[in-house]
Symmetry: C2
């Protein structure tokens, strides 16, 4: 059994991106600049955005963090989005989700210029993904694809089961793994809360991806021996033994599943760092798509 070390793979990608930044400097080209909008003080969101800004620092990207109180009006936020759309110094930007309930997330997502939408959440980028047109792939699925590719995991002709059909992970990932590409060419089954015979379906999976946010949902009896397991879940679970009072728990019961499989991504240190690496790759790509 091999651990899919997302932390190490992401570090490798960051180092490649840092080299690309150095080269851009030598060539007198613009340095990529990522902006992030953070609304409120949700612990998870603050921590994700902090990691993104810190990844920019490590790579040598410029970054700007814009913070609003949780009570910010939707109009104010939309105005800021439009301003960032116009700002030539910003190459890509994200609005950290989730947003407070009084703000329409889809409205905000759609207001972002698709050419700066480095999270890949805009409908135009999702449509480009289906048609294999140039654009931004959603960061988490793209990070999972990179994790698979850089660990030389064979996907062609494999049965892949994805549990969870969210707009930002399960659904786009099902398309990316199923299409005619490498990695890709899997026979993908997208399972979800209404799936009636989930265990049988999972037992058929050569590659099993859990993205539902339910701690320890995937147990050993659901896993085919030798399968590849990718765990996208990151739920904060109370843990008085930790100083901060919680720990991140994945969707897969790691201890019992790990001995059964060929590859497994841990939580933390698996998909999480790859999501951030993939956001950084998208930011560099934003400049390249513009021909800068």
């Amino acid at each position: 059994m091999t651990i899919l070390d997302g932390k190490a793979t992401a570090a490798q990608i960051r180092s490649e991106l840092a080299q690309a930044v150095q080269q851009r400097k030598l060539d007198g080209k613009k340095i990529p600049h990522l902006a992030a909008i953070l609304v409120g003080n949700d612990g998870g969101s603050v921590s994700y955005v902090t990691s993104k800004v810190s990844a920019c620092d490590q790579i040598g990207f410029e970054s700007t963090l814009i913070r609003y109180d949780a009570s910010v009006q939707e109009d104010i936020l939309l105005d800021k989005v439009r301003q960032l759309n116009e700002d030539k110094s910003i190459d890509g930007f994200i609005v950290q989700l989730p947003l407070p309930a009084h703000i329409d997330e889809l409205k905000v997502t759609q207001a972002i210029d698709p050419k700066k939408d480095v999270d890949g959440f805009h409908p135009r980028n999702l449509g480009n993904m289906i048609l294999n047109l140039p654009g931004f792939l959603p960061a988490t699925p793209a990070g999972i694809m990179a994790l698979i590719e850089r660990n030389n995991i064979e996907t062609e002709g494999k049965n892949c089961v994805i549990i969870g059909r969210s707009n930002i992970v399960g659904t786009p990932l099902s398309i990316m793994l199923g299409r005619n590409a490498n990695p890709g060419n899997c026979t993908v089954t997208l399972a979800h809360s209404r799936t009636s015979n989930l265990k049988d379906i999972c037992l058929n999976a050569d590659i099993l991806i859990a993205a539902i946010g339910q701690p320890n949902f995937v147990t050993a009896d659901m896993v085919k021996p030798g399968a590849v397991i990718i765990d996208v879940g990151t739920t904060r679970v109370e843990d008085p033994s930790r100083e901060r009072g919680w720990r991140l728990v994945g969707d897969v019961k790691f201890d019992e599943v790990a001995p059964k499989c060929s590859f497994i991504s841990p939580v933390p240190g698996g998909v999480g760092p790859m999501t951030i690496a993939s956001l950084m790759m998208n930011t560099l790509k934003a400049m390249e798509l513009k021909g800068k």
Copy 2:
């Protein structure tokens, strides 16, 4: 075993649309106007476009057919698309595919204003589909969904296998059948040419949809007893016994599969008429989305 009579279901939809047109006339509202661009003389394309124009006539929609020789330059075609985008009298339009090899289909598809893209091929509409935002669903998958819905076929929690991952049928249909809606909530497996154990996968399908354009590909030994079978294939096969010299053949070996299943759509008279009905529904919707 029940035949899914697409011809009858489409006639029902046309009659509802004709009533809607009558009501619009009474209300002094604009009558929907569909334009179609046809390039060349391919027999299949000519016949599809003719059926679409004739459906408009039956319903009371206005229609305009624009024809070009197969040698038309891409620029000429793109200019016409832009002109139709601007033309306020046209509510929706299509460019019949396939186009001759010297024309970039994706470039043409992307040039169409998403608000007039009643075929639902534009990346913006495909992205809207993933996010469940208002827009146009691709006509063939939407027609299949309507055929399922109007024949009261239960989909929730069912295993659905789609063979064929095309951008215009298999891939969007996999999303529509898998999402949280009714019809929908299927556990969808999208199979294709690289699928390694297709027969086993098909035998698991409560709903089996074939969309690959290979005559008689699905045989009785691939079908679970009592399954719902939907045949999207329409290949012209030589047939000297017919006056025109050919007949349309589906992807399913109808004679041997039909006795095994609960519902089956025939070719012709199954999905084909539903695609046209769905294009007509999209054309009416184009006006409604504009608030006209």
